[in-house]
């Protein structure tokens, strides 16, 4: 197989037989970048089984939690109600599966490994092709009188459910959420709310989640997905960049801009009102860029300008808050 290096564009010849199911690491002899090469994905399934961007599979629900016991318990409830369940044990897996499988609902634990659940939530809600996915956070708050969650504390999620209420009210909450969003549900819970007895976790189900090394996955942009669907041809090679590392870079970029804003509140407001944010905070933004570049790998810098993206997203968000949208 011939693989193009994403950095220096050199063509590398890779022996197909050496490529394992989880890929093969190859160092580019020209620029020394390490690539993870995977076999091309299998041919696309027939069109009727696939879902276009923004078109959600109303039977599929993604459940992302690092605890197998809780994942299995939720899976059982959902399967019994007629839903198809997509499990994910970390944030990277959750994002990829939401993009690929287009579930209409994702149940996310906040503290997922690799990419935190609240970051998954922000990412899913910020992408046009996935923002319609309903998100319900899994929380374990027992003192509801003290910590009643306000909508603005949900990181953009549509609802949340406390873990001790999963058994008795998950299906009801899903139904209410679907009704609020104006969709027609397809699971059997749509017809009636199933009252379930509280299930006892089976001890044999308790398995420690294995901490796997961070997988290298290409972050498929919507444009790329469209092309794949239109051409129905296998992608020639799957060169992957660590999705968790990208999210970390994005997070760092957001923190830099958040810190700049925190210490320059007056200038930030002035810059947004007068549309001269970049010039007014030029030196701070420049310093931030230097810091960002010093902490982020060349591969990620080449992959995308997440620093600029973070600033633009911040400006957009702030503009809405101060009523200048």
């Amino acid at each position: 197989m011939i693989v193009n290096c994403p950095k220096c564009k050199a063509k590398l010849k890779v022996d197909d037989e050496k490529i394992k199911p989880d890929g093969l690491k190859v160092r580019c002899p020209k620029c020394q970048v390490v690539l993870l090469v995977r076999m091309p994905p299998q041919p696309a399934p027939p069109r009727e089984e696939r879902y276009a961007p923004g078109e959600f599979n109303r039977k599929k629900i993604l459940i992302a939690h690092d605890g197998e016991v809780i994942r299995t318990a939720i899976e059982d409830i959902l399967k019994e109600a007629g839903y198809e369940v997509i499990p994910a044990s970390d944030g990277v897996e959750a994002i990829l599966k939401i993009e690929r499988e287009q579930p209409f609902l994702a149940l996310l634990d906040v503290a997922l490994p690799k990419i935190y659940g609240f970051e998954v939530c922000k990412q899913v809600k910020s992408r046009p092709e996935t923002k319609g996915t309903l998100i319900m956070l899994l929380a374990s708050i027992y003192d509801a009188t003290r910590y009643k969650r306000e909508p603005e504390s949900l990181y953009g999620a549509d609802d949340y459910i406390e873990k001790h209420h999963i058994e008795d009210s998950l299906l009801l909450k899903i139904r209410q959420l679907i009704e609020r969003s104006g969709e027609k549900p397809e699971g059997r819970s749509a017809e009636k709310t199933v009252e379930r007895p509280v299930a006892t976790p089976v001890l044999s189900q308790i398995m420690k989640t294995e901490e796997k090394p961070v997988s290298f996955e290409k972050v498929v942009t919507r444009g790329e997905l469209k092309e794949e669907e239109l051409s129905r041809e296998p992608v020639p090679s799957h060169i992957c960049i660590d999705a968790a590392a990208i999210e970390k870079a994005r997070r760092f970029a957001r923190i830099i801009i958040s810190d700049i804003a925190l210490y320059n509140q007056r200038l930030v407001e002035e810059g947004i009102r007068n549309d001269n944010f970049y010039s007014l905070l030029g030196s701070e933004i420049h310093e931030g860029r230097k810091l960002y570049n010093s902490r982020v790998t060349d591969e990620i810098i080449t992959h995308g300008d997440y620093y600029k993206q973070a600033i633009d997203e911040f400006i957009e968000k702030k503009r809405k808050t101060i009523g200048h949208a």
């Binding site: 906040v110 609240f118 708050i141 910590y147 504390s153 997070r251 923190i255 958040s258 810190d259 810091l291």
Partner: protein
């Protein structure tokens, strides 16, 4: 690493308040300073430049007793929390005996908290310390504000090892001395093992 002043028969113990920018580290220190007996404390020193600020003072809490006839004098420091001032943070961490991490409980500062904890771990490692072994307490500050992360979430994300943690409203003093006592106790325990 604590150092001993033989002439005054004191062991000096350095506690650093770490955390994201504007999370309440300075407020913690100011509150402690205000409430400490004037006879047993030094001056509150502020090493401030135009953009960053470090606070420092030392005090001798008599109630803690002594170690082999030596009193323990605590030196409390804050670091500049803004991401830009990593060099200052590294410098202040030198010779540290205990850490208080002051987290900002507001949802919008969750990422800054995460970055700061990771930065603390890295900076300690560079100096041969291990965050999992050093005396360490966690404080979730600003619990009086409306848009805060629930405790279980913030604790799961920032404190997977579940070290002793406290809720705080630093300007009112809620949780301030509890946090200090907790880290001081751990630091003393370590000192007693050593001397």
């Amino acid at each position: 690493m604590s150092f001993i002043n033989y002439s005054s028969r004191e062991i000096n113990c350095k506690i650093v308040y770490y955390g994201p920018g504007l999370g309440g580290k300075t407020t913690n220190l100011q509150y402690i300073y205000k409430k400490t007996n004037p006879e047993h404390k030094g001056k509150l020193i502020s090493l401030a430049t135009e953009t960053e600020r470090t606070l420092f003072f030392d005090f001798l809490p008599l109630a803690l007793g002594d170690i082999r006839g030596f009193k323990v004098r605590f030196h409390l420091y804050t670091v500049p929390g803004q991401v830009f001032y990593d060099a200052s943070r590294k410098l202040i961490l030198k010779g540290v005996d205990g850490i208080v991490f002051v987290a900002d409980s507001q949802i919008e500062r969750m990422e800054a908290n995460i970055e700061s904890v990771e930065n603390l771990r890295v900076n300690l490692q560079e100096q041969g310390y291990d965050l999992d072994k050093i005396p360490y307490s966690m404080q979730y500050n600003k619990r009086d504000l409306p848009n805060i992360a629930p405790l279980d979430e913030i604790n799961k994300v920032l404190n997977p090892r579940n070290v002793t943690w406290f809720e705080a409203v630093a300007p009112e003093g809620t949780g301030v001395f509890d946090t200090l006592k907790s880290v001081a106790k751990q630091a003393l325990f370590e000192l007693k093992k050593k001397y």
